[in-house]
Amino acid sequence: MQNKTTTFAEEINQAQHCAMAEDNSMICMGLGINDPKAIFGTTTGLQSKFGSDRVFDMPTSENAMTGVGIGAAITGTRVLMTHQRVDFFLLAMDQLVNNAAKWHYMFNGQMTVPLTIRLIIGRGWGQGPTHQQSLQSWFAHIPGLKVVTPSLTDNVGQLLYQSIMDNNPTIFLEHRWLHNQVTTQGKCLPLLGEPEFTRTVRSGKDYTIISNSFMLSEALQAHSHLLRYGIECEIIEISSPTHINWTHIFASIERTKRCLITEIGHTFSSVASEISHSIYSRYYSLLQCPISIIGLPHYPEPTSYKLTKNYYPNANTLSLKIAEDIGINIAKINLNKHHDIPGEWFKGPF
């Protein structure tokens, strides 16, 4: 039983079920939350279990609905809202930044905002310029928001459950390509545990990779590939860019003296730039090579299959850069698959 497999999407689903059961006041809303596709299967069963007062579909009104979520949250209702793409949520920045982020602060601690907003990052199959933005760097720039960026099936449930139960406004940035990621159930961290927002997921002495979201999957592949050449990379997962444990990162850099930071979105003025600045400011005289940031190129994503081939950095981009920093030659991994789908199970169209 303990070893049955479970997916990232199932863990997300489970976390919502448990939170709804735990807090009777909690509500879940989102476009299509109870439709036949149940937001990529992540909201299955919620409405039938908890009723349509607590779990409901809503109008295409991202801005006001975010305000409604905040208004409900500050008056005693725990709220979880889901959007199928980050891009749609650009309509709600006023409510997010001017209200949610500042509320607890500007009313001097008299109210809290127990609101979590799941935003799904799209990728592939021609999502194109307006269906694939990630914006973790925007959210992390604003004081008062909590940003959570899960990468792995073992802790995604815990991260979501704890985000929901936390009394701060939280942006939960969920990558579409992780939904089918599998792990064995026994390996999942308990929902009730305290999340470790900065974790070492692979230990190594030669090089530090700081990563999150789908880029961590690429980092894991790069890690295995480089091991064959005797290079031991340490991978540090940043599952909350607003709650980084700097000591944890610094300890790794002191050992490896080399580092690369992945960025799930664009890199200019990004969380990665910030991490780089912090590391350099402490260890600039210790480092053996410059810190690399690997993220999206500085232009919108085109739609065509052909044009996106190299838009997303992958395990090869990472491995080659690391090998170069260390000064060895390596072969490329043979990534014999379509670059625009997460796996053969995906047949489009969304």
Binding site: P59, G71, A72, I74, T75, D94, H104, Q110, T112
Partner: protein
Amino acid sequence: MKKLDAYFESLRIRKIEEMIALRYPEQEMRCPTHLSIGQELVPVVVSNFLSKDDKAFSSHRAHAHYLAKGGSLKKMIAELYGKATGCTGGRGGSMHLTDLDCGFIASTAIVGNSIPLAVGSALSQKLQKSNFLTVSYFGDGATEEGAFYESLNFAAVKSLPILFICENNRYSVYSPLEVRQPANRSITDLAQSIGVESFHADGNLLIPLTHVVQSAIEYIRKNNGPALIELDTYRHREHCGPNFDDDLNYRAAGEVKTWLDKDPLKLLFAELSADQHFEKTHNEMVSKIENEINDAFLFAENSPLPNPQLNKEFLYAK
């Protein structure tokens, strides 16, 4: 609502704001401040139908809404003075008022932006099966924001217990309605066609105002659905700050005169003065109000300043 109560409650707010205006030039209330002078009767009548468990939200021009709902005068004045005893300890200033004890949840400074919050509060009330409602105050300008429209739509879809109060004072800062809304726009009809039961009255006249507020609240309680009231009103002074600004000529002199003649306090005073006992009551009340105001300003002035060492506190909730 009783004339005498309406008059004195409005007068109290008027005098509070006049004192703010008087003392604003001392440069001790250092924050943008939007006075409600001229518009007091609306929240006085609305609040007359509410209890502490009914909630209220408002905008940048919130003093009268806060006070009429029962918000602490001392905490408000202290807030304007940026003191630790202010209703947000000096963090929010005039545009971010709150007094949870009386159900005045919050005012916010971005046009239209507290309307969805009020709808969220009504959603909480519905989910909690409470019998109370939420009031959302905003101006005519706010009805131009998509947030207004989206909020009304959702409140109607979910049949939420919310009373939208649009104080139509014809201006958004210096901009008249004509440059912002179509010529024959009726905000009342608009709201009705969005799906919210809607009413309209002159916000300066006690009897129709009372009548319409009562009808709207009865409607909400009976139908568990939202209602809106559009009220014609007028601000006497400048948009932001303590002064009169009719020298700028953005409002026609005739228009200003018509509305000042219709000042709700003036009208009520005239009516009440017919009663020979009124003068005495009036003098008593005025001195009571003035004492209360003086106390509040003394309280504010003598209150400690907040401690900037605590500036980091409450960035996140525990």
